[in-house]
Symmetry: C2
Subunit: 212 residues, 2 copies
DNA sequence: CACGCCCTCATACTTTAGTCGAAGGCGCCG
DNA sequence: CGGCGCCTTCGACTAAAGTATGAGGGCGTG
């Protein structure tokens, strides 16, 4: 509260590129002295980091990371830890991509070519509770919007579908019955507006790519 | 035969970017005076162009084009017109990608940052019958190699699978029975070393992306 | 507490996917 | 020419995917 003794912050940096990780870490430690900064190089490590530190003030998330599979991983993290603000740090300076991450609940979107000062400023704004809306993109990219209707468990199912798992494997990995998985799949397909598992996987994986 | 009166050449440029198309056209028309140069902006147009001009001397093919779906379109063209040399013109300067296109039967691989002179030289070499092997990449990228085992009809089936079509639709589009398509799918899955349609689609679509 | 939402699961059913065996065409080679 | 291999085609069969309906329990909210 006091301006002279700011409470210590805790961050989690998720990026598989060591150089980027160090740069972000340096920027944060300079902008927020005494901050606790953790790092993760994959979606799994990021999940583990949040598991051990659920009070993380902000997650800086790279989209092109093992296990992310496009924006599926973002939505997955967002579903499991809805209170942790996520700042997407992507290599692509694409307004549509920014819009998609916004639709999926990201608090901000910065591209890697931005200066560290800009990134620090963005983080500061997010810590103040701001949600940085992307420049209005009036495109008909309805898939990402439809995807926001998915529940957390449905996101987990979709994430495994996207990896090529079949219902039986998904049931085992999630510790539920196959009938349950099938029920989820049915709802997922309806919500996404597709007619088959294959189409759902195609669209979900295409989320992170430029629109063809 | 005679050096003073070179026979007229015919080329097909397939790229959805008008600027690139014009640049390539200019380069070719300068390097090969009197050449007949056609253009296509999608996989379908490229197929139509080859249909009407099967004696094309070389196809300059962009990978990021509507309908291509990664390297699937390349293999499709290669299967349907095995005698037409294909020169891949890609935006990505990636040795692995070059290797994959080589495995799939491309005669050469140049990236768009190359000068028009380099491209013209490459085309000339290909017209002389050369196949420009990529720098040795000793990685275990076996999927593209496995994919070369597919027959032309199997490639057509896979191309439609990758678009999300189901067997019944594929059968209709190819003018065969559904049982036939199923038989092809079975062989495709075995040749690709995967165990489900979804996995095959994931891998086929990932062919054009950097290895995760 | 009643209501809605999510997760869970079972049962039964329809549709799609995938496997197996087999037949005919076609080129190649001894 | 007869055999051989490959491609294509297909029907019958088994497995998986997807739908419909119903039901029970947990959890937050007015």
């Amino acid at each position: 509260m006091s301006e002279t003794t700011p409470e210590p912050r805790s961050f989690l940096i998720a990026d598989d590129h060591p150089m980027v990780r160090d740069a972000l870490r340096a920027a944060l430690s300079q902008a927020f002295p005494g901050a606790a900064i953790c790092a993760a190089a994959s979606l799994g490590e990021a999940q583990a980091g949040l598991e051990g530190q659920p009070e993380t003030d902000a997650l800086l998330l790279d989209l092109d990371m093992p296990g992310m599979e496009g924006l599926t991983g973002l939505a997955l993290l967002r579903s499991d830890w809805p209170t942790v603000p996520i700042i997407v740090v992507s290599a692509a300076r694409d307004a549509r991509m920014a819009r998609r991450t916004y639709d999926l609940g990201a608090s901000a979107y910065v591209d890697k070519s931005a200066s560290l000062e800009e990134i620090a400023a963005t983080v500061r704004a997010v810590l103040d509770g701001e949600v940085i809306a992307p420049p209005a993109v009036e495109d008909g990219d309805t898939f990402a919007q439809r995807a926001t209707q998915l529940t957390p468990q449905q996101w987990r199912v979709l994430a495994l579908m996207v990896q090529g798992d079949q219902n039986k494997q998904i049931a085992y990995k999630l510790g539920v019955g196959e009938a349950t998985v099938k029920a989820h799949v049915t709802v997922i397909l309806r919500k996404l507006g597709v007619r088959s598992r294959t189409q759902a996987v195609i669209e979900a994986r295409s989320l992170s790519l430029p629109t063809v």
